[in-house]
């Protein structure tokens, strides 16, 4: 109990200590960005308060809403009281959020980049995690095939072991050029593709089998300016990148695999990417 109180006291003091003033650039940046951001109409926004409701009650309410919607739909499609019928747009159901853990086959929605929605359709046998990542695992945490959702502000680093300072690619072509500039990687010729309604390039690359860093850093394949990104590790060193032009921004989706990954699962990984629907 004393240990609990000690930890409470330490945490209280530690959190109380620290920066508490936002730099003016934060509000200035927001002011600049909202001038380019339209507000959504209220009818498109659900009320944010739905938290304390118990799951059974939630199910009852959802069920009641479905019954009401079906009943209303039957009246409208069936012609209504005057028998004329009304053409109404079919509502597009929103796939459920990508959960952590084993996935049932079907469509899921993830949010790999703030403000961006990524919808994919997944076959049986795949695992989801962290709202952006899917894998086919030969054993727990052994991602024989991986698919990573769209990311931005990235590039292929000039030096995978010193990736901090990597400037984000300004365009799809610039990204491809940065990958091709890596003469220590085996890189394919880029192929023109269209994924999720956006055009871009697809390129395959293989990092050396002994890709490790003697300076203790991770061996980065994709990097952001702060040096974080996606790393090659172990057998996970064969990459396919889809670099898409999304409203002028180069956005990257990747599929990586072990050399011994089952070919049908690799094909499934590519197929998952091809089902992408991206809403910036």
């Amino acid at each position: 109990m004393n240990e609990d109180r000690d930890l409470d006291r330490l945490l209280d003091a530690w959190f109380a200590d620290g920066p508490a003033m936002a730099h003016d650039r934060v509000v200035d940046g927001v002011a600049s960005r909202i001038s380019r951001q339209r507000q959504l109409p209220a009818w498109r926004l659900r009320s944010w308060r739905f938290p304390a409701m118990s799951s059974p009650l939630k199910l009852v309410l959802i069920g009641a809403a479905l019954v009401a919607a079906l009943a209303a739909g039957a009246v409208i499609v069936g012609g209504g009281p005057n028998g004329l019928g009304v053409m109404t747009p079919t509502p597009t159901p929103v796939p459920p959020p990508l959960p952590n853990g084993n996935l049932a086959p079907g469509a899921y929605t993830a949010h790999p980049v703030t403000g961006m929605t990524w919808t994919i359709t997944v076959p049986d046998g795949w695992t989801g995690s962290d709202d952006w990542f899917l894998s086919y695992d030969l054993a727990p945490d052994t991602h024989a095939v991986s698919v990573g959702g769209p990311t931005e502000n990235e590039n292929a680093p000039a030096d995978s072991c010193a990736a901090a300072g990597t400037a984000p690619a300004a365009s799809v072509d610039a990204f491809v050029a940065a990958v091709q500039a890596r003469d220590d990687w085996t890189v394919s010729a880029p192929v023109d593709v269209a994924v999720g309604g956006y055009s871009g390039s697809r390129i395959d690359l293989e990092v050396p089998a002994d890709a490790t860093c003697s300076n203790g850093h991770d061996y980065m394949v994709l990097a952001m300016p702060d040096g974080t990104g996606y790393r090659a590790h172990g057998q996970d060193r064969l990459f396919r990148l889809w670099i898409l032009d999304v409203d002028g921004r180069p956005i990257v989706i990747f599929r990586s695999r072990y050399p011994n990954a089952p070919a049908d699962r690799v094909a499934e990984g590519d197929a998952i990417v091809e089902t992408s629907v991206i809403r910036p």
Partner: protein, 183 residues
């Protein structure tokens, strides 16, 4: 709560929105910095959250809940950002500790470093819960409302976050005793 400013901002008045967030930015930044433990990332997350707030502002129907709604947006964006970072760079690396370096009366530099390393080992939602509880002084019911989870879940997550923090500190102490790499 300035009802007129909120109403104007909901009608699309950008200046009114900026006035609304100016007086709240310090508090929201402090929350983001404590979850992310990095000033630059906290500023990025806060900006992203405030742009989302502008976009979705017309969904706020109860002005009394505006501050809670904003806090929730910031916490969610921070959790998402921390989750991506954690997943994308699996091996945690020590980053510079932001904030004053001078010791104070309540907590030593050594304690601060140990806490920082332990905190970085936690899952992002556990970090957020500890910040809500220990920095904002939220009770489990308020944590529940902020995170959109049932109160019982908030209680158990708070318990687990404390347990994880304690385990992280113990692991750090063991690593230090063994002379090994601690993060």
């Amino acid at each position: 709560m300035d009802l007129e400013l909120l109403a104007a901002a909901q009608r699309g008045d950008e200046a009114a929105f900026v006035d609304l967030i100016k007086v709240r930015s310090n508090r929201l930044f402090a929350i983001a910095q404590r979850i992310l433990r990095d000033i630059d990332r906290a500023e990025d997350a806060l900006q992203d959250a405030l742009v989302i707030a502008w976009r979705d502002l017309r969904g706020v129907r109860d002005p009394d809940r505006f501050d809670g709604w904003l806090t929730r947006l910031v916490v969610r964006v921070c959790i998402a950002q921390a989750t991506r970072e954690r997943r994308r760079t699996a091996n945690l690396r020590l980053l510079p500790v932001d904030g004053p370096a001078a010791p104070d009366e309540l907590i030593s530099v050594a304690d601060r470093d140990v806490l920082d390393r332990g905190f970085r080992r936690l899952a992002p939602d556990q970090r957020a819960i500890l910040v809500l509880h220990h920095y904002l002084g939220y009770a489990p019911s308020e944590i529940a409302e902020t995170l959109g989870i049932p109160p019982g879940t908030a209680r158990s997550r708070l318990f687990n976050a404390h347990r994880a923090m304690r385990a992280a500190l113990e692991a750090d102490a063991r690593a230090a005793a063994a002379g090994g790499r601690t993060a």
